[in-house]
Amino acid sequence: MRFLLGYGSCGIASGANDVLAGLESTFAGTELKVEKVGCNGLCFAEPIVEVITDSGESILYGRLNGESAVKFAVAVKNGQLPQENRLTEEECNFLNGQKRIVLSGCGKIDPESIDSYIENGGYTALEKALTMGADKIIEEIKASGLRGRGGAGFPTHFKWDAARRSQSDEKYVVCNADEGDPGAFMDRAVLEGDPHRVLEGMMIAGIAIGAQSGVIYVRAEYPLAVKRLKLAIAQMHEKGYLGENIFGSGFNFDFHIMMGAGAFVCGEETALLASLSGNRGMPVTKPPFPAQKGFRKQPTNINNVETFANVSWIIDNGGEAFASMGTEGSKGTKVFALAGRVKRGGLVEVPMGLTINDIVFGICGGIKDDARVKAVQMGGPSGGCIPENMLDTVIDYENIAKTGAIMGSGGMIVMDEKTCMVDMAKFFMDFTSKESCGKCVPCRIGTTRMLEILKRITDGEGVAEDIDTLVELGESIKVGALCGLGNSAPNPVLTTIKYFRNEYEEHINNKCCPAKKCNALIEYRIVPDLCRGCSLCSKKCPVDAISGVVKSPYVINSDACVRCGQCIDTCKFNAIKVISGEESI
């Protein structure tokens, strides 16, 4: 019987170390062992232990802590598999509804052991690729229909072929592991949970294009990923998978890891290359493309973590098998990171072609507290908010683009009635304007102006022309900006205006925030008829904004109130309401 403990960043943050201590201390002296594996993506139930019985059955235990881990371990020592802490059938459907290629090793193998990867079929694709030759490899990638998973969706075989045809003795394979989309954590899970899968994919790309060097550009905010990659590379050296004349094939390869330093724009490939050269991450026009002149001005192929993580499966199973999944234009599977107001958030890998509803409701259980879904944001700060009545949209690159959003890296943020769409637009514009490299006027100044307008609107100082100005500015920036950051930055604003124009109008015309989020447009009021004068809210208030006499209704001073909401959380009588606009209590 095996006991697999999810040991990724979120697992650790949720208490996996306490669970580990509880299990190991109870198992001490027995033959029972705990294996540390990567995150299996069931983030809603961390910390998780998966039991694999001798007959191969999998039973999932979740939400453990030090105490319940000991209880569990004691029961196991007594020959039982207890019911307590088991995931329900509905919760297990989270995994059953998925088709995992990229995530197939996450939560199953020990990411700190190359032997674990090999035992599970790892490096068979590399061995096959070493005998296939570059042309055949690229043919299979073409047949698979694999498109770049970082967000742009560019056909992978095309890029590889372009780099292959560039003449040079010095070529590079670069992995963009700068996962910068807020709300996206797929790449982190793969790098922490199955690093060899990415490295193997990069090496196969190396064979295809004729490169001997792989560079992984990882964001600095992922220290555990960096640690596991370094370890994986060292183990590859020990086993002879790296170096000169690998397995007598004549193929040489080695890896270098470069850490990012905190710049979203470095996810854009020319900015990434600038950063790799020790410069400010400022994009440049293309051509020349990296395939012609990339890192150190040599032919370079840059792909995203998830793109590389698909390669070994394609080589092992054939491009056609990959293409048998998905839609006409978007083949294979895609990993989505579900977060926000969803019941069961985490990593979902499914074939292209499901609808957004299928994922949000079918796999993730719908909205927290059974509230009503308002929108799903796809594509991060470059994407858009898809409203409730369009959640039956089939997920593939072209269909999502038609809504005004983009597939992006796969982050899906689920929003309910408590989310203000104007506030979300402001949030994204704040992000992109800060992350703008500053080089071109449309982006540098355009995003700043759009943000100013959005701030005025949420501060209750919007004017009638603002909506049209935002649209005009947004459309100009899309056309005029130099790089992908700029020409997609207006998308969240443009889609929220398209689908939620009434919210903007409420903010501007009626000084009202329907979602009751924008602080300048809401007030907290105590309902005198419901207030018992218990004074608890007054004691809790961090800015002393609530006053009164015990046993009489208390009063909130709106000018002092910072809208932190702690009074509402404290009140046992539901006596405090949030009002906006013309509402009264």
């Binding site: 979120c10 954590f185 600095a220 410069n279 989310t419 490299c437």
Partner: protein, 158 residues
């Protein structure tokens, strides 16, 4: 610069055969040594590598990961990602500002704490989240944040 830093920075510079290309990695290591990128450190790197200090400052000021001011012993990073925002990260930032009495980017007078808003930490499922040095704290509430900070203050007092 504090004593011993020059020797340590020399050791870093010796590792890189192409300091211009490896400037970001060099600055990351120097930041680990000195706590932040100080003017003295920049001038020292210039003196050793001939990379103009304007270029070094250009790189140091571009990337959010480089600090140009000292940080506290406990560096609090509040995640401002989308999931955290939707689940209330603004209030977490407000709470920290109130409890510590400092703005984002500043250090408390006793040098114990500093806080900043950072881009997505990738821990969206446990939003709202923050990191204090290398430790992630998730599913935060305003009270939890207060408890964590008070807990650290208590430990330090002992």
């Amino acid at each position: 610069m504090a004593e011993g830093f020059e020797i340590k920075i020399n050791a870093v510079l010796e590792k890189y055969s192409n300091p211009e290309e490896s400037l970001i990695a060099i600055l990351q290591e120097v930041q680990d040594i000195c706590g932040y990128i100080s003017k003295e450190a920049v001038e020292y790197i210039t003196s050793k590598t001939r990379i103009p200090s304007s270029r070094i400052m250009g790189v140091a000021s571009f990337y959010a990961g480089f600090r140009l001011k000292p940080v506290g012993k406990y560096r609090i990073m509040v995640c401002m990602g989308t999931a955290c925002h939707v689940n209330g990260s603004e209030r977490i930032g407000d709470t920290i500002k109130r409890v510590l009495g400092i703005e984002a980017g500043d250090v408390t007078a006793d040098g114990l704490f500093s806080w900043e808003e950072v881009a997505c930490l990738g821990c969206c499922s446990i939003s709202p989240a923050m990191m204090i040095n290398d430790t992630v704290y998730g599913t935060l509430t305003q009270q939890k944040v207060i408890d964590i900070i008070e807990g650290i203050k208590k430990e330090e007092a002992e």
